[in-house]
């Protein structure tokens, strides 16, 4: 396992990847991607038990499903830097004939992706299905998923949340990125979510918090704690507070950068706040 300092370098490099990817095509979703960088880096480099290479069935390894597919930049960067595909391919993000579609898909055969996401609210159901398949196969590995907080406004989530608790899907760790922002503004203004943790708890989940999802040590500790709570009859929910746009001062404390790319000047500024560590693609 890499040490925390190496992972912190990776965090900064992934932020650079995200910014450069969305800048090049003047589109994509940097805000949520930057906010979840620590989570992805921790998950793929410290938490999940992964096999070498990629196969769709993913037997005998942990699985991850990204439900809020619009934060594809962070997903692609972390997958590439974990060795799923060449880092240089990040340069094709959102371009014609690329495997790195605007939102993740299996359709182009990109290693690391097991289901398409983008149309929101569908990922938890898929993660539950994969977790049930693991149980049927006698595979004691775990299934992780990530969901935007605004995404919880989609009703399918609550069908899935009810199902997972009612059927004791206790090999599932669903994390909610509680950044409090969505396209049209603050979640509590667009459609109030209230206390997300209370809602999951009321449905029968084991709920825990990561108070600062942009603190790598906290994220690693929280995910390890979540792993220790699996296998006890309840699905595990992590409500993870993050700052959208984290790591770039002018992208924080606003929903403005949810789905907007920086211009040349803004990119230079943002990159100067995240100096190159492991090498740009």
């Amino acid at each position: 396992m890499p040490n925390t300092e190496e992972l912190q370098d990776l965090v900064v490099q992934v932020r650079r990847d995200i910014l450069r990817m969305v800048h090049k095509v003047n589109s994509g979703h940097p805000g949520g991607s930057l906010g979840c960088t620590e989570f992805f880096v921790a998950l793929y480099n410290e938490i999940m038990d992964l096999k070498e290479g990629f196969d769709m069935d993913g037997k005998d390894e942990d699985l991850f499903f990204l439900s809020n597919g619009h934060i594809s930049p962070v997903f692609y960067s972390v997958l590439a830097r974990r060795g799923y595909f060449p880092v240089e391919e990040l340069d094709t993000f959102r371009l014609i004939d690329s495997r790195l579609q605007g939102h993740p898909t299996t359709h182009e055969g990109l290693p690391g992706i097991r289901v398409a996401s983008g149309s929101l609210g569908q990922g938890m159901s898929v993660a539950i299905g994969a977790a049930l398949a693991k149980k049927l196969n006698g595979d004691d590995h775990l299934v992780f998923s990530l969901h935007g907080d605004g995404e919880l406004q989609e009703g399918q989530n609550w069908e899935a949340i009810m199902y997972a608790a009612g059927n004791k899907v206790d090999n599932l760790i669903a994390t909610v990125d509680r950044n409090g922002q969505q396209i049209d503004g603050a979640t509590e203004e667009v459609l109030p979510l209230g206390d997300v943790a209370d809602k999951f708890r009321a449905f029968g989940w084991d709920v825990m918090h990561i108070e600062n999802g942009n603190d790598l040590d906290q994220v690693i500790a929280g995910l390890k704690e979540a792993k220790s709570r699996t296998g006890k009859g309840k699905p595990v929910c992590i409500v993870m507070t993050t700052e959208m746009g984290n790591g770039v001062d002018f992208m924080m404390h606003t929903h403005a950068w949810h789905g907007k790319a920086p211009n040349d000047e803004q990119l230079a500024n943002a990159l100067s706040q995240n100096p190159e560590t492991l090498g740009d693609y």
Binding site: M56, L63, V115, G118, S125, L132, M162, G166, N167
Partner: protein, 317 residues
């Protein structure tokens, strides 16, 4: 004319149930999901014999489609079942993104398709599902005609890798195809060779087409009858070979004329061999309450309607 015998009326949904029973015994990767309609889908035996391979999701069809997609990751072959309306229109985007676009090996199995569930009325009937499903890239669409064929189709789609929409119904209808038939996805079945007109039918309308052909024969009209159980991929060769001989065609289906089998046939003809065509189908309408027989009569979906359509199309040659 080739003679077909009704071996005793049965519902096609029970053919699905019988197919699932057999799959439960022969294919350990097959799993079943249902959204609070176990009795209607006739899968009690599968559940009793394989309780660990059945997932009751409750009245939550969107979640069911997503769970089915997830179960394929790990090698399972999920059969997700509900009424045709709730298994297609209600969950179109879940099927589109999590199943079709994600290339997932999910079998969507839908009972109570068309008008013939009867008294429940239009909220529970659907006449748009073939169109919805055939529009999805990579989706196979199958509408078998009787109990035996539905059972055979259910077993066959487990061996086919990729998403499938299997459509069947509630009423007891003639069971006339061979009990030991080999079901080939995408392969039309020639039921009666004829020379004057081609009748291309699917689902419950296939038996009605045979009845119509018998009546037409008594009037001196030789009707070729083709059972198209697979609407996508469509057996274009079988269709074209027939119409090159007869020069006209009637399509018959328990579905809207927009988006159904008839339109697929029309596209094939337009591209390769244009001939006059008449559509036995519903005409851009919702259904309503009534007995299945009353509805098929009122909406023009029985052997009499097919016969009339043949007489119309013959005048257009």
């Amino acid at each position: 004319m080739t003679k077909y015998t009704d071996q005793g009326k049965q519902d096609t949904r029970s053919g699905y149930g019988a197919g699932m029973t057999e799959l439960g015994r022969t294919n350990p990767n097959v799993v079943a999901l249902c959204a609070d309609l176990v009795g209607s889908l006739k899968i009690e035996t599968f559940i009793a014999e394989n309780p660990e391979r059945f997932f009751q999701v409750g009245i939550a069809e969107a979640n069911m489609m997503g769970i089915a997609a997830g179960l394929t990751i790990g090698g399972k072959i999920p059969f997700a079942s509900s009424f045709a309306n709730f298994a297609t229109g209600r969950v179109y985007d879940q099927i589109r993104q999590s199943i079709a676009y994600s290339d997932k090996n999910v079998k969507i199995c839908a009972s109570h398709a068309g008008l013939t569930l009867g008294e429940d009325g239009a909220t529970h009937q659907i006449l748009e599902d073939i169109g919805l499903m055939k529009m999805l890239p990579g989706m196979t669409v199958i509408n078998p005609c009787d109990f035996n064929q539905t059972k055979a189709a259910t077993i066959a789609i487990a061996e086919h890798h990729g998403p499938v929409y299997l459509r069947f119904g509630r009423p007891k209808v003639a069971n006339f195809t061979p009990v030991d038939q080999k079901f080939e996805i995408g392969k039309a079945v020639m039921l009666n060779e004829g020379t004057d007109v081609t009748i291309i039918a699917t689902g419950h309308l296939v038996w009605e087409a045979l009845l119509a052909a018998e009546s037409l024969e008594n009037q001196g009209i030789s009707a070729e009858v083709i059972n198209i159980h697979t609407i996508k991929p469509l057996d274009e060769k079988a269709i074209l070979d027939s119409v090159k001989k007869t020069g006209c065609v009637v399509t018959a289906e328990e579905h809207n004329y927009l988006g159904g089998l008839g339109e697929s046939v029309a596209r094939t003809l337009t591209m390769h061999h244009p001939v006059p065509q008449e559509f036995v189908a519903t005409y851009d309408t919702f259904g309503e309450s009534g007995t299945p027989e009353q509805l098929m009569e009122k909406y023009g979906l029985n052997n009499k309607a097919i016969e009339k359509a043949v007489l119309r199309v013959l005048k257009r040659i």
